[in-house]
């Protein structure tokens, strides 16, 4: 039996409207996940041609990382790009494909305990609940939840830096 706990009460959200690099955002997220040893998994990858203003692109990624034999980190990333219109432009002297439109990115994280399902008996379930929710609760909160939170804010900042947002900074 596995137990999952969310590290955020609410997702953290980035919204943008203007000109951006769609492929670059994907590469940034993917590159960060690979360099931080997260196994990449993609639940949804949609590209719809629904209206004359542009395409609708949607990604849902659930990368995970095994911390040890008992704990696994999950990052949930949901993105939606609206009115996607691609065109070529010269950026810093190089010809590049850029995108005009608007999008949002939502990120949240979950810590999963006993992902292997070793505590599956009735006694095991009770013992697991006692360990996670009572005895080592503070230790797990301080050690693992904070680690995942820090990872998510690093990814959040990486996206902001790539997008060259004015608020691309993380003091934590």
């Amino acid at each position: 039996m596995s137990i999952s706990e969310s590290v955020f009460e609410k997702e953290i959200e980035i919204r943008y409207k203007g000109i951006y690099d769609l492929e670059g955002i994907y590469k940034t997220i993917r590159g960060w996940l690979d360099s931080n040893r997260y196994d990449y998994m993609e639940k949804i990858h949609k590209d719809k041609q629904t209206n004359p203003w542009g395409n609708e692109v949607e990604w849902e990624m659930v990368p995970c990382r095994k911390v040890d034999g008992f704990i696994m980190f999950y990052i949930y990333i949901r993105t939606k790009f609206y009115d996607v219109k691609e065109f070529s432009s010269v950026v810093h002297g190089h010809k590049r494909n850029v995108t005009d439109g608007r999008f949002w990115i939502e990120i949240t994280g979950v810590v999963e305990y006993d992902y292997g399902g070793n505590f599956s008996s009735e006694f095991g379930k009770k013992l697991l609940n006692l360990i996670i929710k009572k005895i080592f609760k503070k230790y797990f909160r301080i050690y693992y939840h904070e680690r995942l939170k820090a990872d998510i804010y690093k990814l959040h900042n990486e996206i902001k830096e790539f997008m060259k947002l004015e608020t691309a900074y993380n003091a934590y």
Binding site: K10, I12, E13, T167, Y169, N170, A171
Partner: protein
């Protein structure tokens, strides 16, 4: 979870030069230095014909004990931001010009992990203890929270070079 809004809707309005990067750094560092946990709910940036619009909603919190935590909710709206280049002592400085609106709300949250909400009798006991036994204990953090909020407001006003900043 019991949420008590201590101050609600206090705001600062400003129009003029703003260095958005430095403003964000100041706020983020201030929360870190005052031992608040980071929580950035919104980060919106939209480019319009009359300039950029940035909306930020930060709601960091500080754990006081297992029962009480304090929160400052800061909503920043920056509108009509356009880039300007200033010349200062033969140096060219890139900054921005526009309108800013800061909204400060503060909250005291008790039983934030919901331990006392699992059974009706626990909930009843929590309400009784919060009203009579724990009231003075929880009230002591009001001063801490108000002081923090005033300190942050002062820092923001000082950063924007506003008049009547005070000491």
């Amino acid at each position: 979870m019991e949420v008590r809004a201590l101050t609600f809707g206090e705001n600062i309005d400003y129009r003029g030069l703003i260095n958005v990067e430095d403003l964000y750094k100041l706020v983020d560092k201030w929360f870190k230095d005052h031992r608040y946990e980071k929580r950035e709910i919104w980060n919106f940036e939209e480019v319009y014909e009359d300039g950029k619009q940035i909306t930020l909603k930060l709601q960091p919190w500080r754990r006081i004990s297992d029962f009480v935590r304090i929160e400052v909710r800061l909503t920043i709206t920056l509108k009509k931001l356009t880039e300007v280049i200033l010349e200062k002592k033969d140096l060219k400085i890139k900054t921005m010009k526009g309108e800013a609106h800061f909204l400060f709300d503060t909250f005291i949250i008790t039983d934030y992990e919901g331990h006392w909400e699992t059974k009706p009798i626990y909930f009843f006991m929590k309400i009784l203890s919060e009203k009579f036994l724990y009231k003075s204990y929880v009230d002591t953090f009001e001063d801490v929270l108000v002081k923090d909020k005033e300190d942050l407001k002062h820092e923001v006003r000082k950063f924007l070079n506003m008049q009547r900043v005070g000491s």
